[in-house]
């Protein structure tokens, strides 16, 4: 029935268009084609929007899953107890302190080195083949897998330098891992400082180092700080290099100094997650919540620092 109706409708349109103009059929076709093109355009838009929403909802799903599983285990006891075979008594005190130690030591080692090297390459070094080579080298290092840095740490710090499976080995390995990232972040911050500032300082007779120290670094500081915080928070979540340098997965004391054996939050998460019992998976989720709070807290600090200094700089300029 409908088929007959539609064909008769088609033929009636055709008759009508034939009466109108010989080119009308073409225009009728192209109208339909235009509609098709517009539908395609809308489809693409919807696909792109859907992809964006899917990506964001995966993030939401991940966070929801972790919070639902782990929230029930999160209390002071969990933060103050040592790991245990019994899920009810288990806690993350050694892991939390290990992570805090690593955070401190890695910052002390990597920030001066990374910022210093970036300042030298960006501000002092003249264009040369060596400079190109160093730049290429840094870019390559940022995409070397973290486990390779772990192998380097194992061979150099743990074995050759004989630091053993200590916090120091772990922090040195993480430092080597974040150095290229800090350098790239610092260089981007320095590149954002206007050239006119350098030229003005050099024109009144300042040396290159004076220009850098008194004019450029203060200007670039907020962005450098943000970059540093983001880089180091990335290092804190790394697990593979710590496994390589021999972080322990079961430890019942908090480290007292840089030469002590240690564990860290990501290690503890990995250890609990790889056990078959469901309760340990939930403990793992609780530890993930603590780790994520640390990392997101660091990001929030980065944003606050940037905003604070940007306002201050603006005031100085006015």
């Amino acid at each position: 029935m409908t088929q007959i109706a539609s064909t008769s409708l088609d033929s009636s349109i055709k008759e009508e268009t034939q009466i109108l103009h010989p080119l009308a059929e073409l225009s009728h076709n192209s109208k339909w084609q235009l509609k098709k093109r517009k539908i395609k355009a809308t489809t693409l838009y919807i696909c792109c929007l859907a992809a964006m929403l899917v990506s964001v909802s995966i993030l939401g799903l991940l966070l929801a899953k972790i919070f639902i599983s782990g929230m029930g285990w999160l209390n002071w006891q969990f933060l103050e107890n040592v790991p245990s075979r019994f899920a009810e008594k288990a806690g993350i005190k050694p892991a939390l302190w290990g992570t805090i130690w690593l955070l401190g030591l890695t910052s002390i080692i990597s920030i001066p080195l990374g910022v210093g090297a970036a300042v030298y390459i960006e501000e002092i070094m003249r264009p040369s083949r060596l400079k190109n080579f160093i730049e290429l080298n840094i870019a390559n290092l940022t995409s070397v897998p973290s486990i390779i840095f772990g192998i380097l740490g194992l061979a150099i710090f743990v074995r050759y330098m004989n630091f053993g499976k200590s916090l120091l080995s772990g922090a040195l390995t993480l430092s080597i891992l974040v150095l290229p990232i800090i350098m790239i972040a610092t260089r981007e911050a320095l590149q954002a400082v206007p050239v006119s500032l350098r030229q003005a300082a050099l024109a009144v007779g300042a040396t290159r180092w004076q220009t850098t120290r008194d004019q450029i670094l203060p200007q670039a500081l907020p962005n450098i700080l943000t970059g540093i915080i983001l880089s180091i928070s990335r290092a804190i979540g790394e697990t593979a290099p710590l496994i390589m340098v021999g972080a322990l997965s079961f430890i019942a004391f908090t480290p007292e100094g840089p030469m002590d054996e240690f564990t860290a939050l990501p290690m503890q998460i990995f250890n609990w997650a790889s056990r078959p019992q469901l309760t340990f998976h939930e403990l793992s989720a609780a530890a993930i919540i603590v780790l994520l709070i640390l990392l997101l807290g660091a990001n929030a600090v980065a944003i606050v620092v940037r905003n604070h200094y940007q306002r201050k700089n603006l005031c100085n300029r006015l």
């Binding site: 395609k40 838009y45 964006m52 030298y120 290429l136 080298n137 840094i138 390559n140 897998p145 793992s284």
Partner: protein, 302 residues
């Protein structure tokens, strides 16, 4: 000039040159790191290759280093790694490009400033957390659809690695798309084309160098990914293309050996350096390919 001033000037300059020398030394650390990586991997794996011939290592198909009879054919590990990395690209590449298209072409300034930080948060989540997510959420989901899938399977690992590398593809492709001159796109619109046609026939070809480079980088990241794969894909060296089986990747093998207490000098200890060397060479090749593509295709539209 008073002697005091001269002295001040002298010490100032002296301090300055001291600082500059220090900074110069710092800037060589990156080169030292690279040399260190290459030297360590080469030295330690040369010990390994004294015991195992290169031919056996590269061309035999069984990997059983931890129990007798030991077999050292790395092909199952390479296969597992490529399987996970390849499948992960099926997730990260289409999603990543669509997200980049949305961010660069469709999103309003407000939507962009909402979604961009969310992607950065996704990029900043540690890989062990993704491993947990794969194990407790993705694997049960897969097994509810396809009950024959093993508890540890390559597909779950691939999906989660795809999610991890998605922000990388999205942000690099977004950069590439935004650097296409707007005059090119406006020329397209002036001819009466729709937005989809401009995107497909003008924007994507013009930004192709950056987009392809982002794929290669995502692939290289997926190859080196360790913790998520260790947790989700298991530790069974397995020469297979079936994504529902448990496999082992190169990085996961290295983790497995170093979790146990292997004495220095044993063949297992040496084998992690040999596997590490292969892993390093593959990622190095991928990274160089990515930067070569960026250079090579750059001539396209500029």
């Amino acid at each position: 000039m008073t002697p005091n001033l001269i002295k001040a000037k002298y010490t100032n300059r002296f301090g300055e040159s001291l600082i500059l020398t220090c900074l110069q030394a710092f800037s060589y650390i990156s080169i030292l790191t690279t040399i260190g990586i290459v030297a360590i991997l080469a030295l330690e794996s040369s010990e390994f290759f004294k015991n195992i011939s290169l031919q056996e290592f590269l061309f035999t198909t069984e990997w059983a280093p931890l129990f007798e009879p030991r077999r050292f054919g790395i092909l199952p590990l390479i296969m597992g790694t490529l399987l996970v990395a390849g499948l992960s690209c099926l997730v990260s590449v289409p999603l990543g490009i669509a997200v980049a298209l949305y961010l660069s072409q469709y999103a309003t300034e407000r939507a962009r400033s909402l979604f961009k930080p969310l992607l950065e948060i996704l990029a900043g989540i540690p890989s062990v957390v993704f491993g947990y997510f794969a194990m407790t959420a993705i694997t049960p989901f897969i097994r509810s659809w396809y009950p024959e899938a093993e508890v540890f399977n390559a597909l779950s690992a691939a999906i989660v690695v795809g999610i991890m590398t998605l922000p990388l593809v999205a942000s690099l492709s977004d950069d590439a798309m935004r650097s296409v001159p707007s005059s090119l796109l406006e020329g397209g619109y002036a001819l009466g084309t729709t937005k989809a046609e401009v995107n497909f026939f003008i924007l994507l070809p013009a930004a192709s160098s950056g987009i392809i480079a982002s794929f290669v980088l995502a692939f290289s990241r997926a190859i080196g990914e360790t913790m998520a794969v260790t947790l989700a894909a298991g530790s069974t060296p397995n020469l297979t293309l079936n994504p529902f089986e448990s496999i082992q990747t190169m990085a996961a093998y290295i983790v497995q050996v170093s979790m146990g207490d292997t004495p220095r000098g044993s063949i297992e200890y040496q084998s992690i350096f040999a596997v590490g060397l292969v892993l390093f060479l593959i990622t190095l090749f991928a990274n160089m390919l990515a930067s070569f593509m960026k250079q090579y295709f750059k001539k396209g539209y500029v």
